[in-house]
């Protein structure tokens, strides 16, 4: 391993952790889970993009965005618009007053495809829009906020407001967006049926691959000088500013990266779940995504993935068994994490792992024994690189 790779992966421990996660996502889950469960896992992993983005912008950049659902949603809607247009060909919509447009438009007495929808007939445009639209929106918000030095809690409140506004807009513009139902009945991608088991399997792998790619890109950012600058800004923003840096531009950058990650997650969500609706855009899902990152450890890119999986598995389990208890549990979990495990799972595993390593060093004959088989039931605790180690 050359020096650059070493730095990127965070040394041997970092490489092992990444390999463990990759093994879990690419080998263990597909082997152990039946197609339905695997698809569910894919859905959770699409949220993990948001959590990974939050580690960058909240954990390292100190920017707590409570509106990441906005970017998840924009990415998801861009993809959904393309798929919906493909599903609304004149033949299958021939009973409509206006065949060839999405069904909900027809219900809303719209007689021609709105201008906003026209470019989404092109797949290339859609792919570009999935990434660029949310990134540009984040650039706009970031410029407006960070150049004026709106920070901390005020920024969080503004992002919440944006999430609320976008939800209201989507619901209000029923003819354009499908309203509260969202965009449903998505069937094919360029003629390829995305509802079949095999398609879902392929989409799962694409999703997992993209997620690992985002994590690597995140590691690249954190191992660069920019990553150290983000940490420096959290320590002493004024000092960074008076060392000749335009602090706002770095915040905008990391906020845009988080937005782009979220949008990829949103698009992958649409592809795997087959619909997109405003219930993934608003305040509640946005806060849930913050909890995923907090539980996993807001300073750990890998931890964010485990946190997302753990919380969602818990959510599925508890909301099936004790539906009325789930929200309390979720709230309690967040409070517990903030109070007792400020660095989340990753922090716990890190300290425990270090203790374990010391114990091993003391008694040399004892071998470390990872148990990946248990991972399907419950994500395997892993030793994660903390912020400090990542920068070395």
């Amino acid at each position: 391993m050359n020096a650059a790779m070493q730095k990127l992966l965070g040394g041997r421990a970092g490489a092992i952790n990444l390999a463990l996660l990759a093994g879990l996502l690419l080998v263990v889950f597909p082997l152990l889970l039946e197609p339905f469960r695997l698809n569910l896992m894919g859905k959770y992993l699409s949220y993990a993009f948001v959590a990974v983005g939050l580690v960058l912008c909240w954990g390292y950049g100190g920017i707590l965005s409570l509106g990441q659902g906005v970017f998840f949603g924009i990415g998801g809607y861009c993809m959904a618009m393309f798929l919906k247009l493909e599903a609304s060909d004149p033949v299958s919509t021939k009973i409509q007053t206006t065949p060839g447009i999405p069904d909900f438009m027809d219900w809303n007495q719209i007689t021609s495809l709105p201008l906003l929808w026209q470019p989404f007939q092109s797949f290339a445009f859609t792919l570009a829009a999935v990434i660029l639209a949310p990134t540009l929106f984040a650039l706009l918000i970031g410029n407006a906020m960070f150049k004026r030095r709106v920070g901390d809690v005020y920024f969080s409140i503004v992002t919440q407001a944006i999430a609320a506004i976008l939800t209201i807009l989507i619901i209000g513009q029923q003819g354009l967006t499908g309203g509260v139902n969202g965009i449903t009945d998505l069937k094919t991608l360029l003629g390829w049926d995305i509802r079949s088991d095999s398609a879902r399997m392929i989409l799962y792998f694409v999703n997992a691959g993209l997620l690992l790619g985002c994590i690597l890109f995140g590691k690249y950012i954190l191992s660069s000088k920019l990553g150290r600058l983000l940490m420096a800004m959290r320590d002493k923003e004024e000092r960074v500013r008076f060392s000749g840096y335009d602090v706002a531009s770095f915040k905008i950058f990391v906020f845009c990266v988080a937005a782009a990650f979220s949008a990829i997650g949103g698009a992958m969500f649409t592809l795997q779940v087959g619909f997109m609706s405003p219930s993934f855009v608003g305040i509640v899902p946005s806060i849930e995504m913050v909890i995923f990152a907090a539980v996993g450890g807001r300073m750990s890119l890998l931890g964010a993935v485990y946190g997302t999986l753990l919380v969602n598995l818990g959510k599925t389990y508890f909301s099936e068994t004790f539906p009325e208890l789930w929200l309390f549990l979720m709230g309690g979990l967040f409070i517990a994490v903030v109070m007792y495990f400020p660095n989340g799972l990753a922090g716990v595993v890190d300290t425990q792992g270090r203790r374990l390593l010391q114990a091993i060093k003391r008694r040399r004959e004892v071998k470390p024994k990872p148990a990946p088989a248990a991972a399907a039931v419950r994500p395997e605790p892993h030793r994660t690189v903390t912020g400090l180690e990542a920068t070395k």
Partner: protein, 262 residues
């Protein structure tokens, strides 16, 4: 930024001290809700000069530094640094023009190592893409080591910064400024909270680093002021009460009355 430095250096090397001051503050006023913290101030700092600003609490000393480095916006007046008007510039632009500023309490990055703290101030990779692709090249390492030597931290390069003593943190912040090679260095109470031996070392450090640049220091410790100052300015209620050599200021009855005491 680099050509600003080189042009000033060439002037200094030429042996002709330019009559133009490095820093010319004229008619500077800032008022906070009608209260004039700095009132029609005129202040000139020459090339290679160590100027100490003293005065009672609330005299406006720190506010003057804030105004120069762009932290506070002036209500009226002008601040010219090497003929560049600073009052309309943003903080990072002022830094890039060659003004470095140390804060009153040590302001360093506690979660980074001493090396990384210094490296952070190396004037390269200051934009987003530059920072992403920044490489720790030999010239960076060399410069960090040289500065660390100067600020007595050469043996602690890989120590995490929050483990340093208070005095060492003050030095580290001065070192971070040196990394930028500023032409004007502004230090707000650099020896506050330091032991006697640390004060002596700091005075020696200031003597060394003031070669080839101008330094403005705010300080309360009169012994320390005496050991470093070329010229002293006494501020009182946002105005200059007295200015001149340490001796003339110390014997000035007005200064004794409002500041130095009996």
């Amino acid at each position: 930024m680099s050509d600003v430095i080189s042009s000033s250096n060439s002037r200094a090397i030429g042996g002709i001290t330019s009559n133009r001051p490095v820093l010319a503050i004229e008619g500077l006023t800032v008022s906070f809700d009608g209260f004039k913290a700095v009132d029609n101030l005129n202040l000139y700092v020459d090339r290679n000069e160590v100027r100490v600003v003293i005065g009672p609490n609330g005299a406006g000393k720190t506010t003057v530094l804030d105004l120069i480095c762009g932290k506070t916006a002036a209500t009226s007046g002008s601040i010219r640094f090497n003929e560049i008007e600073l009052t309309k510039m943003r903080e990072h632009e002022i830094v890039r023009a060659g003004v470095g500023r140390k804060f009153q309490t040590p302001s360093i990055y506690e979660s980074l190592s001493v090396f990384e703290n210094l490296e952070m101030s190396f004037p390269r990779g200051r934009m987003v893409l530059g920072a992403l692709t920044f490489k720790r090249s030999p010239d960076v390492v060399e410069r960090v080591e040289k500065v660390a030597q100067e600020i007595f931290l050469a043996d602690l390069l890989h120590q995490q910064a929050d483990l340093l003593s208070h005095g060492q943190k003050q030095w580290l912040e001065i070192g971070m400024l040196l990394m930028q090679e500023p032409e004007l260095l502004m230090l707000d109470e650099p020896v506050a909270g330091m032991s006697v031996s640390e004060r002596e070392k700091t005075a020696e450090l200031l003597g060394r680093i003031s070669q080839g640049r101008s330094v403005v220091v705010i300080e309360h410790d009169m012994e320390f002021v005496k050991s470093i100052a070329h010229k002293v300015t006494v501020l009182h209620q946002g105005k200059i009460l007295a200015e001149g050599s340490m001796e003339s200021v110390q014997s000035n009855p007005k200064v004794i009355e409002v500041y130095l005491g009996h």
